[in-house]
Amino acid sequence: MASLPKRIIKETERLVTDPVPGITAEPHDDNLRYFKVTIEGPAGSPYENGLFNLELYLPDDYPMEAPKVRFLTKIYHPNIDRLGRICLDILKTNWSPALQIRTVLLSVQALLASPNPNDPLANDVAEDWIKNEQGAKAKAKEWTALYAKK
């Protein structure tokens, strides 16, 4: 594999020296493009008090191509499916090379605070969210306690 671009090296360094509150991201020893990520559930959301594990991978064309991010912890959310895949515009069509690992993870955290059931990835969850928001939120809270214990 070609050597690691300077950008990835610098981003990793800055993530360590200047971490984002509520978010951790550490590269694997054997693959510096692969990060182990944790995100705290935002306060006031059904995911509060949860700690979610994610994986983040920087593809060869990063930063021209978006990082691949996936939830490893089970989560009840209209924009996150059973496999942990995330429906977030900046991870797809609205990706910009000026975004960074840091900004991506902040956006994922923001998605937890404000789900968008009108642009769903998990259809059943989204339907539930639209028809019975209170019930859906209760279930999300329940799953958080069940799977995302700190």
């Binding site: 300077k6 069509t93 000026a98 642009d119 769903p120 259809n123 339907e127």
Partner: protein
């Protein structure tokens, strides 16, 4: 996009003498030839002229008007003729040659081709356009980046680091993609003997293109390494006092370049100022990152969907809905990303400037001021000089690509429909079975039953071929009846409920 034809357009010869002898200067990249096709088949030259969104489109319009002129250099093709594989491969080789970094082709201390921070596959911009923009000082040259910069470095330390900079980033000599692909003798243009003759046509083509790619990759490394060696040798000779070379930058130039630089916010590498700046939000971007930014591949517009309804498959959508928006500014997401570049006034060296070796840093350099003043006069005679360069300008083939994709999709769905219809019409078994089921289910239309009954005993192929026209007509009528009966039943059934 308010770009207006440049002065070059009026000359009818927009390509500056970029190349050294041996490399045809008027050669257009594969992409710009593609635009020629769309310009002509589109036959709305008026709108195109009005838009004249890029140097190249204006250049190509010129080319169309004077078709007997400089466009006839072997890369021009009739719009109605498809390019052969060989022609396409020649264009690809030419493109690879155009992105070689050469120390003796420089502008203001930077080069005409990228250092190599991004993979070769992604360097699909129009090299001719980019080179001429760099020479016109409308786009920053491709500077060799520094991995890091420390403002505490002394002049000597900085010069030492700059002297050690290579022309091009190191290559991945054996990429996974080309593992186990034979490349044969690169000096011989024919490599058909490398492919097993017994494979299918499709497989053969596949293999051919893979080998071509692997060979081109290898060739490009060799070509660039030749450039690197000649750069190194010249540097050594000059250092030992054996020779003089006007292309190598003077110490003053190296120091002035790199002592005053900044970090590109996208690749995080350190470049000499001035960089390009986004037109919308004034953020810096190096040229190597700028040429990476392009439209997304043609796609259907993203819709917010109702989760309670089934999602429409892409194949059911109208191919004309395929879109491709101009790229957005990476910093502020303003549509149609464009940059503005203000060339350094005290550093006009290289092509159309003084030799890099003769550069002396000083506030007032008479040798530099002179060509600049001349340029200013030229600007007076040229009515409009536009210093904005958009992402579309350097990939003028986006429209052709979009149309191609639309046609491909339309053709695919037309094929599917045609196959479906012909199955119904031509295959007698297909229709007769459906007739039989119609009979059994409806048991009405007595005239067809009797007629069909007499035939059904001897439904051999001989009789069918003799009466095929008759049968076909009958079957079509029966099919029509069946469909109308079905419709009627469907209309009735909800009322019953």
């Amino acid at each position: 996009m308010g770009n207006v034809p440049t002065k070059l357009d009026q000359d009818g010869n927009p390509i500056e003498p970029v190349s050294r002898p041996g490399y045809p200067s008027g050669t257009t990249g594969p992409s710009s030839t593609g635009t020629t096709i769309s310009t002509q088949s589109g036959n709305d030259t008026k709108t195109r002229n009005r838009r004249a969104s890029s140097l190249v489109s204006s250049f190509l319009n010129t080319g169309n008007r004077y078709r007997s002129g400089s466009m006839q250099d072997g890369t021009y093709h009739s719009p109605h003729k498809r390019r052969s594989t060989k022609e396409k491969e020649q264009l690809k080789e030419q493109h690879a040659r155009n992105i070689l970094v050469k120390y003796d082709e420089s502008v203001d201390g930077g080069f005409m081709a990228p250092f190599g921070s991004y993979s070769y596959d992604k360097l699909d911009y129009d090299t001719t356009v980019v080179k001429s923009l760099i020479i016109q000082r409308r786009l920053a040259p491709f500077y060799t980046p520094l991995q890091d910069f420390d403002s505490s470095w002394s002049r000597e330390e900085l010069l030492k680091i700059v002297d050690g900079l290579p022309l091009h980033a190191s290559f991945d000599e054996n990429p996974e993609e080309f593992e186990d692909i034979p490349i044969g003798d690169l000096n011989k243009s024919n490599f058909d003997h490398l492919i097993n003759k017994n494979v299918s046509k499709k497989e053969y083509r596949n293999m051919h293109s893979k080998i071509f790619k692997a060979r081109l990759y290898r060739k490009r490394i060799i070509w660039q390494e030749t450039e690197n060696e000649s750069f190194l040798e010249t540097k050594l000779e000059v250092r030992e006092g054996k020779a003089q070379n006007s292309y190598l930058p003077s110490d003053d130039l190296k120091f002035d370049l790199y002592s005053n630089g900044s970090e590109c916010p996208i690749c995080f590498l350190y470049f000499p100022e001035p960089l390009n700046y986004s037109k919308c939000c004034q953020q810096p971007i190096c040229t190597e990152c700028f040429v990476q930014i392009k439209r997304a591949e043609p796609h259907f517009p993203h819709e917010e969907v109702d989760p309670t309804k089934p999602i429409k498959d892409d194949s059911e959508k109208d191919p004309n809905l395929l879109t491709s928006e101009p790229s957005n500014c990476p910093y502020c997401a303003t549509a149609n990303f464009s940059i503005v570049y203000t060339p350094p006034l005290t550093r006009k060296v290289g092509i159309q400037g003084i030799p890099p070796a003769r550069y002396i840093s000083s506030e007032i350099n008479p040798e530099i001021i002179e060509p600049l003043q001349k340029d200013k006069n030229e600007n007076v005679t040229t009515p409009i000089s536009n210093n904005i360069v958009s992402s579309d300008d350097i990939r003028p083939d986006w429209e052709t690509k979009l149309n191609k994709e639309r046609i491909r999709l339309a053709r695919r769905s037309a094929n599917a429909t045609a196959i479906h219809v012909s199955n119904q019409l031509i295959d007698p078994d297909y229709t007769s079975t459906s007739n039989d089921t119609t009979m059994s289910s409806s048991k009405r239309s007595t005239n067809t039953t009797s007629r069909h009954g007499s035939n059904s005993a001897s439904r051999g192929s001989r009789q069918r071929s003799r009466q095929s026209m008759n049968d076909l007509e009958n079957q079509m009528i029966q099919e029509a009846i069946r469909l109308s009966l079905e419709d009627e039943q469907q209309n009735k059934s909800p009322k019953k409920k």
